[in-house]
């Protein structure tokens, strides 16, 4: 669903059929993201309750509910992938609050800037993910290993690059990214947080999954499924 499915007329390379992701996919991703956030709201609240302040699921749910309303209220269909991502960015920025609002807001804003196009190929998907991670790092100044959402996005970008380099199609690139993000989120469990609210706990933050890494994995899986 949402995947263009039409072999790209100007496909290059060794005869592989090349698909691209378009604005329909972007909308499908957004809707899928809103749905997984709603489904996992309580789980994310619980993760944040363990090592934070218990609002992460609620904040994202409020944000994506607003995103859906914005999407439904559009009078003209968005023309470019970036239009959808920009709507997501600004809405999250103005409704989520907390740490996640600016972080995801900046991620989607940067992603939107590099997707001012009607179609994304594998390289486009990689560029989008790289821009998103860059936005998170610019805003939050965290490095990998600090037990934040960076620990989901970094391996995701890595896996996406690798998949694209290996000739994978956009959907497969996203799937690789999602899987890596999920592994990255799980890998935050033993880490001691040194950024964000969990850092106040010191050693006691170990043994819990970072909520932002968990939600990042959910968002990336939604992207992959919208493309599948």
């Amino acid at each position: 669903m949402g995947q263009d499915g039409v072999p790209d007329g100007t496909a290059e390379g060794g005869g592989s059929s090349v698909t691209t992701l378009d604005v329909t996919w972007a909308q499908a991703w957004t809707r899928a993201a809103a749905q997984v956030v709603a489904e996992h709201r309580d789980e994310l609240v619980e993760l944040d309750r363990q090592i934070g302040d218990g609002d992460h699921g609620e904040n994202l749910h409020r944000g994506f509910t607003a995103v859906l309303a914005k999407l439904d209220g559009l009078t003209e269909p968005p023309g470019q992938v970036g239009d959808v991502l920009k709507l997501v960015a600004t809405t999250l920025m103005s409704t989520v609050g907390g740490a996640a609002g600016p972080l995801y807001g900046t991620a989607f804003l940067r992603a939107a800037k590099v997707t001012a196009t009607e179609r994304l190929d594998a390289a486009g998907v990689v560029a989008m993910l790289e821009a998103a991670l860059e936005g998170i790092v610019v805003r939050g100044k965290a490095s990998p290993g600090e037990k934040t959402m960076v620990d989901a996005w970094t391996p995701a970008v890595h896996a996406a690059v690798e998949a694209a380099d290996g000739g994978a199609e956009p959907a497969a690139v996203l799937a690789a990214a999602a899987t890596a993000a999920e592994e990255g989120a799980v890998a935050t469990d033993p880490l001691v947080a040194t950024k964000g609210r969990a850092s106040y706990l010191g050693e006691r933050s170990a043994g819990h999954r970072d909520p932002g890494a968990a939600s990042s994995a959910l968002l990336l899986r939604a992207a992959a499924e919208a493309a599948a």
Binding site: G54, G97, G98, A99, G101, P102, R197
Partner: protein
């Protein structure tokens, strides 16, 4: 979870609406986006003072809007920093042409959202300077943390910077005095019980009947360590000692002693804590010349308290004593 609320999604808005209705002589409430300004608007030529942060810490910050303190406050969702969309208009509304100081508690979310809100306000022509409050000695200030949190000491920064702005100090001077307070104020808190965020519906952490949590923040976050329940004097000492040591308070110095309730603590208990904290200070040769006792920087219905010490000199004392007319602090 039993709370005097309707839908958890509406509690902040309904509460702030009620606040505005109750105090029209002091504050004015704007909704969508939600922020609170001083009744009568900004005074031309006065440096504006804005603060904000997640809700659930009442009376902080809206209760400190008024003459001699804040010009505007931005309440976020429960325990969630407000969004730039609300911060920007609050900064604009507080601007009397002499610039605005944003007093921001040092949390990743608050810092980032205020950064974004200030950026947009500056683009609209408001000069914004930010002062970060990070008084919580429970958190190590190191590369291993997001830095110390802002907790009850924030009240001291808002009161004193507010007095400086009110007497006509310019932007640099207000920032300087606010930073002086930040440099000289430290806090440490304890939780006897956790609090329950409305949308979460269950306590923010689990604490056994004979345990307390030392070094808690004001967002229902767990603290630094858990110890057995102890008499108030012993608990007070555990709070005061790190504060005094971090401040390197010496013989002959004067301080403000502020014992703050976390929301669900009887006032009588706060005075028991105050009594012993004061004795401990006096034993170190420190003179308590100003005092504040009450639930001012809270964590919903959490039971517990924090001890804040502010090193005073003549300037800070005079600014602390200056008139203030807000709903929560008034003299």
């Amino acid at each position: 979870m039993k709370k005097l609320i309707n839908d958890p999604a509406d509690v902040v808005t309904e509460s702030v609406e009620g606040f505005g209705l109750a105090h029209p002589d002091v504050v004015h409430v704007r909704t969508d986006p939600l922020y609170v300004t001083r009744a009568g608007g900004p005074r031309t030529g006065k440096v504006g003072l804005v603060s904000g942060g997640g809700s659930g810490h009442e009376p902080l910050h809206a209760g400190f809007v008024g003459v001699g303190m804040l010009d505007a406050a931005v309440p976020g969702a429960m325990f969630t920093s407000p969004v730039p969309d609300a911060i920007t208009p609050a900064l604009q509304a507080a601007d009397g042409g002499a610039g605005v100081v944003a007093i921001v508690k040092n949390y990743t979310g608050d810092v980032m959202n205020f950064e974004l809100g200030a950026e947009i306000a500056e683009a609209e022509g408001v000069t914004v300077r930010t002062v970060l409050v990070n008084d919580d000695v429970a958190v190590e200030d190191s590369t291993w943390t997001a830095g110390r949190r802002g907790v009850a000491g924030t009240l001291c920064v808002e009161k004193i910077a507010g007095a400086a702005a009110e007497r006509g100090d310019d932007l640099d001077a207000v920032v300087a005095v606010a930073e002086k307070v930040v440099a000289n104020v430290r806090s440490m808190g304890v939780a006897l019980t956790a609090c329950t965020v409305p949308h979460a519906g269950r306590p923010s952490f689990d604490l056994a009947d004979d345990e307390i949590e030392i070094g808690i923040g004001i967002h229902g976050e767990p603290g630094r360590h858990r110890v057995p329940m102890a008499p108030a004097d012993a608990v007070t000492e555990q709070l005061l000692t790190p504060v005094v040591e971090d401040l390197r308070l010496g013989d002959g110095e004067s301080v403000l002693l502020f014992v703050n309730g976390m929301g669900g603590t009887p006032l009588s208990e706060l005075y028991v804590v105050y009594r012993h904290a004061r004795r401990l200070l006096e034993e170190r040769g420190v003179t308590v010349t100003r005092s504040l006792v009450g639930s001012y920087v809270t964590s919903l219905e959490m039971q517990g308290a924090s001890v804040t010490v502010l090193r005073l000199d003549d300037e800070l004392t005079a600014l602390w004593d200056a008139p203030v007319r807000t709903t929560a602090l008034h003299w």
